[in-house]
Amino acid sequence: MRSDSVVPEWVARSRGSLLRPGPALAAFGAVAVAFFAWAQRYGLQTLPARDMGHLQKILYVHVPSAWIAFLSFFVVLVAAVWYLASRADAADRLAASAAEVGTLLNGLVLVQGMIWAKPTWGVWWTWDPRLTSTLVLFLIFVGYLALRALVDDPERRARWSALVGILGALGVPVVYMSVRWWRTLHQVQSTPSTMDPAYATGLRLNAFAVLFVAAYLVLLRRRVARVEAAVEAIEEERALRGVEA
């Protein structure tokens, strides 16, 4: 009986460096972070003079974060469909990683927005359609992550979270439209929908920067997920063997 046979070969090979990213991933991460720093600097330097107030600077993290969060949720949808079609563990790990990164970015959008809203609008929060639907979207994926945390069986966890991911993604446009109708019937507070073309280049650059950083995080998270799955398998094996011990 080979007692180490429960350890997948790629885990055994990595000799304790599991959680450290491999050289390719590390290089990508470094480039992503450097590009992000440069894009931020570029954005801030090219701000139109009249807007040099500190407040506007948040724009270059706020809007890209929102875009990439939405993109992450779209990845969750795709990975969920992929999982149901193929039952590939890789699909589930991608979905989980994208959901976590997306929820993180979504949370950042909310926090940044609130920090911005207090000085500009005088309140932390207002029931504006975009704000409200961002919050609901955030909560949908908090539910998704809670489900993942609460289901122990890996196969069932993958299957159920794929279902919740699909329904959640289906809900996004419905939520967005209904919140609009709910709100726009009455007076609308200044919404962040008027954008000066002067911001466009900086925004686009920063959108890519956040995209790269997010992609790095997803890849890193996926690696951790693989290790977690291996640990889960080993622990279960140990439980099975523990009986006669």
Binding site: S5, V6, A233, L240
Partner: protein, 208 residues
């Protein structure tokens, strides 16, 4: 592991606590999906054709799967409808008679003793013919009459060309039912399994 149960054969599963008997029965009943390996019941693959396999399998589990607030009669009537047999009064009363629950037919299941519940769960298996009977520690809770009943039910299934698989620690009693015994130990594979469900490694359960 490798297990083949022939038509008309009855087999006991033995093994220490936690050796995977219950898990194997649940895989054979399509309640768990085998992580690796494959199995089939009466030619129906357990994964690809789970629905086909289900039609032939009857499981008597640790927990009976009854509705506590309904009566034994109502529980059987529901089971009968779900099997697509309608709820014929005569049939149900005959089953209740056979498992000696006629007197308690309209009590709440909640008020029944543990053995009476097991009888009712057994009665549910009598509603339709089964090709493969899976019994998980069936000797617990039954009194002498219950054991006779169990024996005759298992006998009928094998006589009709079906098979019986009994997970138990009580091999002496099991011998009244089974013809051979299979031992499980961590799934009884030659190579140690990489997964707790590997007990399901290729359980070829062929009911016929």
């Amino acid at each position: 592991m490798d297990l083949e149960v022939a038509a008309g054969e009855s087999v006991a599963l033995a093994g220490a606590n936690g050796s995977g008997k219950t898990t194997l029965l649940r895989v054979a009943a399509t309640l768990l999906r085998p992580t690796r390996g494959m199995g089939a019941v009466c030619g129906h693959d357990l994964v690809a054709d789970a629905d086909g396999a289900r039609a032939h399998v009857g499981l008597l589990a640790h927990r009976s799967g009854l509705y506590e607030d309904l009566s034994p009669y109502q529980n059987l009537a529901f089971a009968s409808r779900m099997l697509g047999l309608g709820a014929d009064r005569g049939t149900i009363e005959a089953v209740l008679q056979r498992v000696a629950l006629a007197a308690a037919a309209h009590e709440r299941v909640r008020a029944l003793s543990s053995g009476m519940r097991r009888r009712l769960a057994l009665g549910r298996l009598l509603l339709a013919p089964r090709r493969l009977l899976l019994l998980d520690e069936p000797f617990a809770s039954f009194d002498a009459g219950g054991l006779d009943l169990l024996e005759s039910v298992a006998g009928e299934v094998t006589a009709a060309g079906g098979s019986v698989l009994v997970a138990t620690h009580d091999l002496k009693r099991a011998r009244r039912i089974v013809v051979r015994t299979v031992w499980l130990e961590r799934g009884r594979t030659v190579q140690p399994p990489a997964d707790r469900r590997s007990v399901a490694d290729a359980p070829r359960l062929v009911g016929r």
